[in-house]
Each structure stands twice: as structure tokens, then as C-alpha cells.
Amino acid sequence: MNERREFLKGAIVFFPAAGVLAALAREVAGREAPAKDAGAKDAPKPYTPADHFYGMGIEIDKCIGCNLCAVACKAENRVPDEPFYFRTWVERYTIMRDGEVIVENISLGPQKETMADAREVVRTFFVPKLCNQCQNPPCVQVCPVNATFTTPDGAVIVDETRCIGCRYCIQACPYGARYLHPATRTADKCTFCYQRIVKGLQPACVEVCPTQARIFGDLKSRASRLVRFKRMNKIHVLKPQLNTEPKVYYAQLDGEVR
């Protein structure tokens, strides 16, 4: 009887005290973190996400299929080296005389010479692919735990600490742009190299593209290269019938590309 009373007394004191202590600790930690932040951001102007809205332009006729973009993306973003995990990749389209369309992912490995009799080929070209950073993203709609969302500057990103790896978003993406990261077992995707764009740099794939087939820019700035790109070219997006409103704009896109 006495022991139980002692225990209850102890518990009454212990639990609220623990809660208050935890709250205090969090307060202190919270105060420290923003202070560090302000120091780092002192030199350049602080970055305001709401002032920007990013997109990408891709000019098909300029792509030479060198695959540097996919290689640079893997280096910048710690995408696994195995040749079937991609945040961005390049496809070769070959349209044959009999109407057959052959699509090959050339980022998968060493390039084959030619695949078909040149006389049977009507046209052939490369199409770089990546997450389309949709303004109406199906992957965000299906996430059961709110782990993926659109940032104010227009990048769709994943919180790997909250993602439960259920793969709904991988199924929902009509562009096949997501994959399950084998180390974290969470969904991973192109973020437009978010760590670079907040510092005013270009995404790694745009940085290394040797023919400027990829253009990156801010849709809210009238002087950006992307806005000029959209003005100077006839623009198409992938799968417009799905109303995903992609922010990756293709110029000279062939009707066979999907």
C-alpha cells in the first residue's frame, strides 16, 4: 500500500517535470538554430522563395545525347551509381518507316552503335527527361503522410524523414521521374538541385550541358532566360492531357514523344 502511494507521488512529480524540461530544451535549441542561420545569410541578400518560380526549358534539336547531364546529376545529388536509378536521364527515340517507335534509355549504359537499318529509320533524336515539377502534381496528391510537397519557388521535394516508402507517388507519376532510394528506402526525385538554386546557381544538369539544350530560369522574372526561351520557341509539355501543368517546357518536341 505504501509503495504504491510512493510510486504515484513520484509519477505526479516526474511526468510534468520531464515535459517542462523537454519544452525548455527545445526552446533553447530553437533559439540557437535561427541565430546560426542569420550569421550564414549575412553576406548575400537573404533568399525569399516566394519571389521565384522556377522552370526548365529543353531544346530537343540541341541535345547530342552525351549523357553528361545524367552523370552530373548523380554526382551532385548522391543518386546511387547503379544504372537504373535516375533523377534525370536521356532517351533515344527512333521512328521507323512502318510507324514503330523505339525508345531507349541511353543513360542505362555504354551506347550501342546503331540499332536499326538506316534505310528503315524515318527520324531519330534524343529527349532528356526529368521530373516535370508539375504545378498540379499527382505524386503530391497521393502521398498519405504529406511527405512530398511543392515549395513556394516551385520545386516538388520529398521529406526523407517522413516518407514511409509506400511507393504510391512512384506509381502516380506519369513521367516515371521518381524512384525508391535503396539506402534510405524512401522516394527520391529531382529537386531542380534545390541546394544550388537557392544560392543563385544553375542545376547541375544545366551547368554541364555542352550545347545549352537545357535552359533554367525563373518564370517570375521577365528577364530570365527561360521566359525568353518560351517567347522565342514553340513550346510543348509532356502529356498535357493529364492536366499536370508541367514546368519543364520542350521546344521542337516530336509528336511521338510521351
Binding site: 511526468f15 533568399y47 554526382a75 534505310r119 504529406n146 541546394q195 547541375a204
Partner: protein, 246 residues
């Protein structure tokens, strides 16, 4: 009236349960797990502070002015340094800490310049097995100002796609100069000085017209006066691969 002891005890237990629930909900569970805005802001912050690998196109110019000035006037002017020299933000931050490397093998240049039928027409491409095999590209070409060491003799040096199509066609034995007159300047300024194309139907008619004198027997013949009179021949027939499928 005396409150029974059981009610006292029950009240204490109830108070603990309610207090515990409130404590858990408002203090112990982190706010970022409850507030979507806070959670998204934290995720955005985490993404924004990930480490970089590429220093960016402007970082190299500050120290390597001479190379940058040379490259800025060359055909490679839009290439990023780190495309060939590997991502080098560590070198940009502390030049002695890490050195960028460069692959001096042929396969680095072949990434872009090996012949591939899907590449856009006019992009400089070579046949890697036939073009000075076993010799490193840098022995003849300076990658920061890549001009051919001598003006190409063959049209196929640039027009490999056309050359390959023609090689399997019945026009395989015709030389490019049979139909095209290229000004000498075309070799140095390919887009401003364009080669000529046949500008009359009689040009093709010399072999393919009915009753053409000295025409090869196997060349198919048409009546020039009735066959597609309003167009030049190459507006409908592709002369580099006239038969399409046999």
C-alpha cells in the same frame, strides 16, 4: 457529506491520464509533426543546405583567366569547365585541398563527338575507330580551342549522317561535288557560306530523264515533261537515299 476514498483515488488517476494526454499532445510531440507548415519549412531548409559538388561556371574564371579568355572565343565557349574536369567545389574553395582531374583518353571526347545517327545534323562527329586510332585527341586538338588541325578534306568529317545514308544507296558512287558546289569558305564558316544544291530539274534529268544521252542503264527514267513539273526533284525525292526501302 464525506466523499468516499475510491472517488479520491479515481480522481487522481483521471487527472494523471488527462494531464498526460495534454502533455503528450502539446509538449512531447514535436510541433513539426503536427504543423504541416513547420514541417515543410524544415524540409525546405534541409534541402537548401545540402552540400554542393559543382562550383559553377563563374567560379573558375577568377583564377584561370587565360584559359577562360581562350575558351570564351572558341567553339567550346558554352561548355562548363566541370563537365570535363569533374565537379570541383573543394578546389574552388581551397585550391590546394583538391585538384580537379581530367580524363585524357579518347573516350572523354567521344562522349560528345563519336558518330551517332540520333545526333543533330551538322554537329561535329567522328568515326572513333577510323579517326587516328590509338592517338589521344589532345595531341592534335586543344580542348580549350578545338579547331581541326587542318581543314577537313572529306565532307563526311561533318556530314557523317548523310555519308552513311549515301553509302548504302544507289547514289553511293556519286561524289558530293557532283551535285554540290561548296565555296572554300564553307569549311571555316559552315553556316554563313552554304554549298549549292541542284537548282533545275534538268540536272537530275541528265541521268533520270527519258532518252538522256550517256545515262547509266540502271537509273530509273521518268518523263520530265509530265512527272511533277512544278517541283525540283529533291523537293520530293531524298537524293542521299533515293530508294528508301527496296
Amino acid at each position: 457529506m464525506r466523499i468516499p476514498e475510491q472517488v479520491h483515488r479515481l480522481a487522481i488517476v483521471l487527472a494523471i491520464v488527462i494531464g498526460g494526454t495534454l502533455l503528450t499532445r502539446f509538449v512531447i510531440i514535436p510541433r513539426s509533426l503536427v504543423s504541416t507548415e513547420l514541417h515543410w519549412a524544415q524540409t525546405t531548409q534541409r534541402e537548401a543546405t545540402r552540400p554542393l559538388k559543382f562550383a559553377g561556371s563563374t567560379a573558375c574564371q577568377d583564377c584561370h583567366e587565360d584559359v577562360a579568355a581562350k575558351k570564351a572565343k572558341s567553339f567550346h565557349r558554352v561548355l562548363a569547365c566541370e563537365g570535363c574536369h569533374t565537379p570541383s567545389i573543394k578546389h574552388a574553395e581551397d585550391p590546394s585541398a583538391a585538384k580537379p582531374t581530367v580524363l585524357r583518353e579518347r573516350k572523354l571526347c567521344a562522349t560528345c563527338h563519336a558518330y551517332d545517327p540520333s545526333r543533330p545534323t551538322g554537329f561535329p562527329q567522328i568515326n572513333v575507330t577510323a579517326h587516328n586510332p590509338l592517338k589521344a585527341c589532345v595531341t592534335c586538338h586543344n580542348p580549350h580551342d578545338p579547331v581541326p588541325p587542318k581543314v577537313p578534306k572529306e565532307c563526311a568529317a561533318c556530314h557523317a549522317q548523310i555519308e552513311r545514308a549515301k553509302a548504302v544507296s544507289s547514289h553511293a558512287l556519286l561524289t558530293c561535288t557532283t551535285c554540290h558546289k561548296a565555296p572554300e569558305r564553307h569549311k571555316t564558316a559552315p553556316r554563313t557560306a552554304l554549298p549549292s544544291k541542284p537548282d533545275s530539274r534538268d540536272f537530275c534529268g541528265a541521268c533520270h530523264g527519258q532518252g538522256a544521252a550517256g545515262a547509266p542503264k540502271e537509273a530509273p527514267k521518268v518523263d520530265l515533261s509530265t512527272h511533277g513539273a512544278r517541283n525540283l526533284c529533291w523537293e520530293c525525292h531524298y537524293p542521299h537515299l533515293p530508294e528508301g526501302r527496296s
